[in-house]
């Protein structure tokens, strides 16, 4: 093994240990759903993440509610609540600020039934117990030159550090993508057009296509496109449905229209952050966010803000065996 690679792995390991040591999550949950609060805080405790539990009454609290609670030792926020509340109204964006103005990731998780909580907890435990040393990523895109080119470029930028699987709309069918996403990779990124009900790519990918999903969950799925976290003319948005169905521990999607240039900037900066050894979703988004506010504010994190980006043991082998048309 080359000296540089060894140093990089050592850096990753020490960095991960530092991050793992003292992570604190502010968990806000409805006072009339004590099961959700108890179940989630216990699950995070088992993952060595301390939860500061805050029950609330009525609708999810406004932004100013958190500013008083977010001390400097808090690393992320997870707001859970009834499915009737939309991601766009629960949080102002993917980040909140601590008392001293430090930006931290903030996520939303809609819940209705006990089963929603149990599915999420199961996914959470699965992805957090993975071996740190195997990062793997799925590049997903609509069949269009603009998005295929961006996928190719990301692949080039990441190939030295991360095993990348290009499963774009030109070389794989929708049914095979669903199966491929169950190989247990750490992360998936989609480029293309998006709708509240799903991705336009793959001749329309919808949450019901994951109805019989029996694969291993991903750490997170990022939809760098328009409106996949919007509730317009749909019940639960596509982005929200992924963690609820156990497809991934976290998902990232937009509640409004987004600009292609902003999404390209996200993509390039995500590559830089991944090449720097970032290993979880919250840190990735903090490091990769473009400097213009509208590129960031339109997005929301759904699910686990600490979702790890490393893959399941054996997933690289399984992902390599996925059939694509070349």
């Amino acid at each position: 093994m080359q000296h540089g690679s060894l140093m990089w792995i050592m850096y990753r390991k020490t960095d991960q240990m530092r991050h793992k040591a003292n992570r604190n999550l502010l968990l806000a949950y409805p006072a009339d759903m004590p099961f959700a609060g108890a179940c989630l805080s216990e699950a995070y405790k088992q993952l060595h993440i301390r939860c500061v539990c805050v029950p609330y009454s009525g609708r999810p609290p406004e932004e100013h509610f958190y500013s008083a609670l977010l001390t400097e030792d808090i690393n992320a926020v997870l707001v859970t609540g009834k499915k009737s509340y939309a991601p766009s109204t629960v949080l102002p964006g993917p980040f909140l600020f601590t008392k001293k103005g430090r930006k931290i990731p903030a996520a939303w998780l809609p819940l209705q039934k006990e089963n929603d909580v149990l599915t999420f907890v199961r996914t959470l435990k699965t992805v957090h117990q993975r071996n740190h040393a195997t990062p793997g990523m799925a590049l997903l895109a609509q069949w269009h030159p603009r998005y295929l080119k961006l996928s190719d470029r990301m692949s080039e930028l990441l190939e030295e550090q991360i095993k990348v699987f290009r499963w774009t709309g030109d070389i794989i069918t929708r049914e095979n993508v669903v199966g491929a996403l169950g190989t247990g990779l750490g992360m998936g990124i989609y480029f293309g057009h998006g709708r509240p009900v799903g991705w336009v790519g793959y001749y329309g990918m919808r949450s019901h296509h994951f109805k019989d999903f029996s694969g291993k969950p991903m750490g997170c799925v990022l939809s760098l496109c328009c409106r996949t976290a919007s509730r317009r003319r749909t019940g639960v948005s596509y982005t929200e449905s992924l963690p609820l169905m156990g497809v991934s521990a976290a998902a990232f999607g937009a509640v409004r229209e987004t600009k292609h240039t902003d999404n390209m900037k996200w993509a390039i900066r995500i590559c830089t952050a991944l090449n720097n050894g970032i290993d979880n979703l919250g840190d990735l988004l903090l490091q990769a966010q473009p400097p213009n506010m509208e590129a960031v504010q339109h997005y929301r994190i759904i699910g686990d803000p600490f979702a790890p980006l490393y893959s399941d043991a054996g997933s690289i082998q399984k992902a390599s065996a996925v059939a694509v048309f070349n």
Partner: protein, 82 residues
């Protein structure tokens, strides 16, 4: 930061985006017309500039960044304003 230093940094970033752009590129060469940079490459270049110089470049200003010297002048203006 002097214009010369900015241009040297820009050459480095441009080399990452498109390795075919060698040191032969003149300060006034058009990225698009003389070196064939496409929209993805230009946006990647801008994203790298934003990260390196810790500034924000709005989309409406993208047309101003058509050559190394024009980009350096733009960045100097930004840095003075900051």
């Amino acid at each position: 930061m002097q214009e010369y230093d900015i241009i040297q940094q820009l050459r480095l970033e441009l080399g990452i985006v498109k390795p075919q752009v060698t040191n032969d590129i003149r300060d006034t060469d058009s990225f698009r017309d003389d070196w064939g940079l496409d929209s993805l490459e230009l946006v990647e270049f801008v994203a790298r500039i934003e990260q390196t110089f810790r500034i924000m470049i709005p989309d409406k200003d993208l047309q101003e960044l058509h050559s190394l010297s024009a980009t350096a002048v733009y960045l100097q203006g930004k840095m003075i304003a900051a």
